[in-house]
């Protein structure tokens, strides 16, 4: 699927999300679990602010010298016998990959989860020439089997489905006869996909981080699917967004540590793999041929602008897991493969304001996203900048926050929700506070407070509040 996942109007998508009770329950419970695990992992590591600053420093250095590091990467991939293709557009990228595969007379392609291959609409391009394309990440596989249902979260793509729904899809499509237990559903998929891994001609992966100094590709999973995708087929094709690289293994290690903690609260995920070139001489497994496709698709036009910092993103979804708006409306409402705060910033930049102008308004600007980001992207500032551009430069009709918040079902009726996302320093709000109520808010709060009063953020920080909450303490 391309970046845009729906042709329905924004308001209608949100309306559908708001009224999908199961999805909302699944999303809120997933948010809490992922967020709780992240906080634990972050606390255990210690000096988290230093880690974040280091992550930011590394990402900014790479972006400032991106041409240098991409050149170094390409040279080192080539030295190890790999082929490198720089693709300016989505079409160039998917066209090149299709040509490589068709030349091999390949029939079956196995894929490990990759957002950038969604972005370049790769599966449709390959299926159009009759190839059998199999997603091997469990969540992605579930969506693929369910007639290509779009992903709703960048780390847990099938988050919006419950196990009963998955069981029913499997019964209909995979002759599944067991129960809705996740263990049984998973074992069934293991059996099917094992055969696909062994019979596939080509393996396609994304890239968490490429390593310029060695020409290596770093892949991070829990399932181990990326390892089978790259160990068994004769040809490996890796697709990377052009900004997803680090100078050396030293920086790779730092960003992996930030990624696994922020994404799933693990010290490291089960499988972290650094692949360099095709297999070595006399090796039995690993690909005989390796292609690296480096994709621009609109990224270069973000460089040098006030939005450049969004390219620091390491796709951990920590911002999605704390966002009160995502919690209310779910991933599909964004109409993009990139949902949540990161999606609301990135989608208009990569896909244009025409399709995604409402997304910067899908935010309370509470800054919980900015606080959660492991590489310090000022997400809420970028959302505000988008709104300025939309109103001032694009001359598009401003989408009022009042309307947006109403559509999201966020209002005085759900003060807890507001608090969930809010990390605003109590002091910053104090001039507007009368007791515990904000009656005249600044900026984005203005339209809200024109019609209703909001509970003021408490003195407790979000993190403290969350911890207390987990201990069963009464939220303030």
């Amino acid at each position: 699927m391309a970046m845009k996942t729906s042709s329905a109007k924004f308001k209608d998508r949100v309306d559908e999300g708001i009224h999908n009770d199961f999805m909302r329950l699944a999303v809120s419970s997933a948010q809490e679990r992922l967020h709780g695990r992240r906080l634990t992992a972050v606390d255990e590591l210690g000096s988290w602010e230093d880690w974040r600053s280091l992550g930011e420093e590394i990402r900014q250095h790479v972006l400032s010298n991106l041409d240098f590091y991409l050149h170094q990467l390409a040279e080192n991939v080539s030295k190890r016998g790999g082929h490198v293709f720089f693709a300016e557009t989505a079409e160039e990228a998917s066209g090149y990959i299709k040509d490589v595969i068709v030349k091999k007379n390949a029939k079956k392609v196995v894929k490990s989860k990759s957002m950038v291959t969604e972005e370049i609409n790769l599966n449709a391009t390959l299926e159009a020439v009759g190839l059998d394309v199999v997603e091997t990440d469990l969540g992605e596989y579930i969506l693929q089997v369910d007639d290509h249902d779009p992903p709703s979260h960048i780390v847990a793509p099938a988050l919006h489905k419950n196990k009963e729904q998955i069981r029913d899809v499997f019964k209909e499509k995979l002759a599944y006869t067991q129960t809705e237990k996740p263990e049984e559903l998973t074992a069934h998929v293991r059996g099917i996909l094992r055969k696909d891994f062994l019979s596939a001609d080509v393996g396609i992966t994304g890239c968490n981080f490429a390593i310029a100094e060695t020409g290596s590709i770093g892949l991070v999973t829990n399932e181990g699917n990326a390892d089978l995708v790259t160990a068994l087929p004769k040809t490996q094709i890796t697709v990377m967004g052009m900004e997803r690289l680090v100078p050396t293994f030293d920086e790779f290690e730092v960003l992996v540590s930030l990624l696994t903690r922020s994404a799933v609260g693990q010290r490291l995920t089960s499988y972290i793999t650094a692949l360099t070139g095709p297999r070595d001489e006399d090796d039995v497994d690993g690909p005989e041929e390796f292609h690296l496709v480096i994709v621009d698709n609109g990224r270069s036009s973000i460089l040098g602008t006030e939005f450049q910092s969004v390219l620091q993103c390491i796709r951990c979804a920590a911002c999605i897991n704390v966002c009160p708006v995502y919690r209310q409306v779910g991933g599909h409402s964004y109409g993009s493969i990139y949902p949540g705060p990161i999606g609301a910033v990135l989608s208009p930049l990569l896909g244009g304001y025409d399709d995604f102008k409402e997304l910067p308004y899908a935010s309370t600007l509470c800054a919980a996203c900015t606080d959660a980001c492991p590489v310090k992207i000022p997400l809420h500032d970028l959302l505000r900048k988008h709104r300025e551009v939309i109103v001032e430069k694009e001359k598009m009709a401003p989408f009022s926050e009042k309307m947006a918040m109403k559509a999201f079902g966020i209002g005085a009726a759900s003060p807890m929700l507001y608090k969930f996302g809010s990390k605003m320093a109590p002091s910053a709000m104090s001039p507007f506070k009368t007791g515990d109520i904000i009656s005249k808010g600044p900026g984005p709060l203005k339209t809200w407070t024109e019609s209703r009063e909001f509970p003021a953020p408490g003195k407790e920080s979000f993190r403290d509040w969350f911890k207390n909450r987990e201990k069963g303490g009464k939220p303030s």
Partner: protein
């Protein structure tokens, strides 16, 4: 033989243009980073502290943990194999089996030793094996992670395809965290060594929480993982 590179010039020039400067293809070195929190983790840990940390972390990653010495290791491994339901076994071609008192395993009747000359037969053996046994090159205490380097005698499939994965961990391979492993790989690079085509950092069995965030252990890779720490001679 070098691989091909397509469309590089125009692509990189466009990046430089957007960054508002002339293209740079040389002369950049990695700066001294202002923040260095990574060396603080487990900074003062002794080798025994690291074993304790590793043991504690194993509980969280669904991995069985044994500590033994080179005299007892064969006995320990035999028991583990029995508990996991016996062979077929697949192992790399590796002198450390003898060096660490595990010659016995080489003589098991149901064992396949990776032989690059046998080609794909190795993969078939790995696919039908119940247990793959590896030696950890480096072991990260903080995350309970073993590190594997591929080569012609150490096939990638040994740790992925069998239902169970047993890793032998010489105690001297244990380091605090990934920081030290990255540094060791970089010093290989600095010495001009060619790094392996596949470096695996493996932490326990494969798993997924893609269905309702419920953890399922055993997805595409091994369903069970066991670490055996061996005190060095």
């Amino acid at each position: 033989m070098n691989g091909t590179i397509h469309n590089e010039g125009a692509f990189l020039n466009n990046i430089a243009k957007n960054l508002g400067r002339a293209p740079i293809t040389e002369g950049i070195s990695v700066p001294e980073w202002k923040h260095a929190p990574k060396k603080e983790v487990l900074k003062h840990a002794t080798p025994n502290d690291l074993v304790a940390e590793l043991k504690e972390q194993c509980k969280r990653v669904h991995t069985q943990f044994h500590v033994t010495d080179s005299k007892q290791v064969m006995h320990c491994l035999t028991q583990v194999i029995e508990e996991l339901g016996n062979g077929p076994l697949i192992i790399p071609k590796d002198d450390r089996f003898s060096a660490y008192g595990l010659e016995g395993i080489l003589k098991e009747k149901d064992v396949h030793i990776w032989d690059h000359q046998a080609g794909n037969e190795n993969i078939e053996k790995a696919e039908s094996a119940n247990i793959g046994i590896t030696f950890s090159e480096m072991t990260l205490a903080e995350s309970a992670t073993i590190v594997l380097f591929s080569d012609k005698d150490h096939g990638r499939s040994i740790s992925f395809l069998p239902a169970c994965h047993v890793s032998i961990i010489p105690k001297s391979t244990i380091v605090p965290r990934m920081t030290q492993a990255a540094a060791a790989i970089r010093s290989k690079v600095a010495r001009g060594e060619v790094i392996p085509s596949c470096i695996n950092f493996i932490t326990g069995p494969s798993n997924s929480a893609d269905i309702e965030m419920d953890l399922v252990v055993g997805v595409h890779g091994p369903i069970k993982a066991v670490y055996i720490i061996v005190e060095d001679k």
